[in-house]
Symmetry: C2
Subunit: 296 residues, 2 copies
Amino acid sequence: MHGANRTPVVVIGLGSMGTALAEAFLEAGHPTTVWNRTAAKAAPLVAKGARHAAAVEDAVAAGPLIVTCLTAFEDTRTALEPAAASLRGRALVTLNSGSPAGARETAAWAAGHGARFLAGAVKNVPSAVGAPDTLLYYSGDRSVFEEFEATLRVLGGDTVHLGDEADLAALYEMAVGAVLLPALVGFFQGAAAVRARGLEAASMVRFTGKWLDMIKSLLPTYAEEIDSGDYTDAASSVNLFLAGASYDEELAEEANVDVEWLAPLNGLVKRAAEAGHGEHSISALTEVLRRPERAA
Amino acid sequence: MHGANRTPVVVIGLGSMGTALAEAFLEAGHPTTVWNRTAAKAAPLVAKGARHAAAVEDAVAAGPLIVTCLTAFEDTRTALEPAAASLRGRALVTLNSGSPAGARETAAWAAGHGARFLAGAVKNVPSAVGAPDTLLYYSGDRSVFEEFEATLRVLGGDTVHLGDEADLAALYEMAVGAVLLPALVGFFQGAAAVRARGLEAASMVRFTGKWLDMIKSLLPTYAEEIDSGDYTDAASSVNLFLAGASYDEELAEEANVDVEWLAPLNGLVKRAAEAGHGEHSISALTEVLRRPERAA
């Protein structure tokens, strides 16, 4: 399937996500060079047609587009350091977690070595890589995005450039990702509660799925309230959530689950009510999540 | 639209949800009697054809099916107490928040007054009442559900009887509902972060929506892991989330948002890792959310 006209790509970091990225490039016919600190992880990809570079310098030299999928920005710079001289003129695209500050540091580091830089994130699980609906967003050097857009789109059909500032993708990654752990812990707590009753967690899945759909349907309204700062037309008020907080301890007793992690959430609701948002939309919590401006 | 063959219904409690319930019954042609402590709230419904009962006794006497939509079970019993003698032989259906214990108490109270009892929950916002896909679940006296199923389905096409025990709906209500506040606070925190950068919360909506779809897609696997107790085939490990926790403080600095509510969530992740679940699926958090059995 190697088409001579397909852009050669380099994938650095072969965890489950990096492996999925390399597989997607291979399936789309891109000559794909892979590198991983633990070389054994490359073997399944070599079996599928990847070229394995023993040294990271050789990997970087193998193509114009270097896609890294390491744990964090610091790991990325550390792994690439021996190959820094080879980065000049190439496009470096990072797909990892990390803070906006980490993205900015890496952008400066890449610029220092003469590389063009794009920082991105895969907004899905490894098994979703390559699907038409899978979202990846990038920010940074627009010329990289424009030149390699078709190649990047191999990783997911919903591929977006957020803006020219290299740290925007990391900002959105944190902002959007902030829902994940809290939502999962909510589901796990519910699962513990139904299992304490001798029922299966599987019996909740359809209901929680619809509940997530409902939450999704509320987001445009909440965003509008937050952007306008007008919380007065409340479908679900802060006071309504305040009333619900009293059930947590009953749930703890009923199902013998640990609800202590909910205390600071209920504390935010209480602070919002105390700040005069009781009859306002629950989205007014955004106001109490802002820390006071520090003195200059 | 009042069909002589439509079951007369009584709606007690005319907050935004109770009003939506009464409107749906009216639109479907059910003779609908309404009662609310603050009588003024009945006026818009009367304009749409509802009969307003000035006294709760008169309301209860007006039909075989009494649907209450008050804040909690205690409020429901208090509101109905003056009409208790009229409940005999009727079906009482509660649609409110509350604990399983509250549902059990209300079931015993209803039985004491000779009423058949079903406790339920509307799993959506008032504006979704009556839609074909809107979920309502009930538990308790199956004969009530069977006799009035067509009438109850007027409130939402996805109408389910969970089982004969009156407290099951309240259990699921808590278990499924546990996702809501944590997920919303995650979204609000993200919104505060993008707004601190001068961007609109609206710019996150599409991305967070897809992220919620992704979370939904993971639930069947997590439920299977939890039900089997086998967490070893981890798509996202506890250690992966542990690594992510370090970014919270960076986000706090970057966007000047309060991340303290995340500390106990990260604490659960840490406890799971310490309990030997580091390389297990994040769903192993369910194990640390279970409180140790108390000594008999």
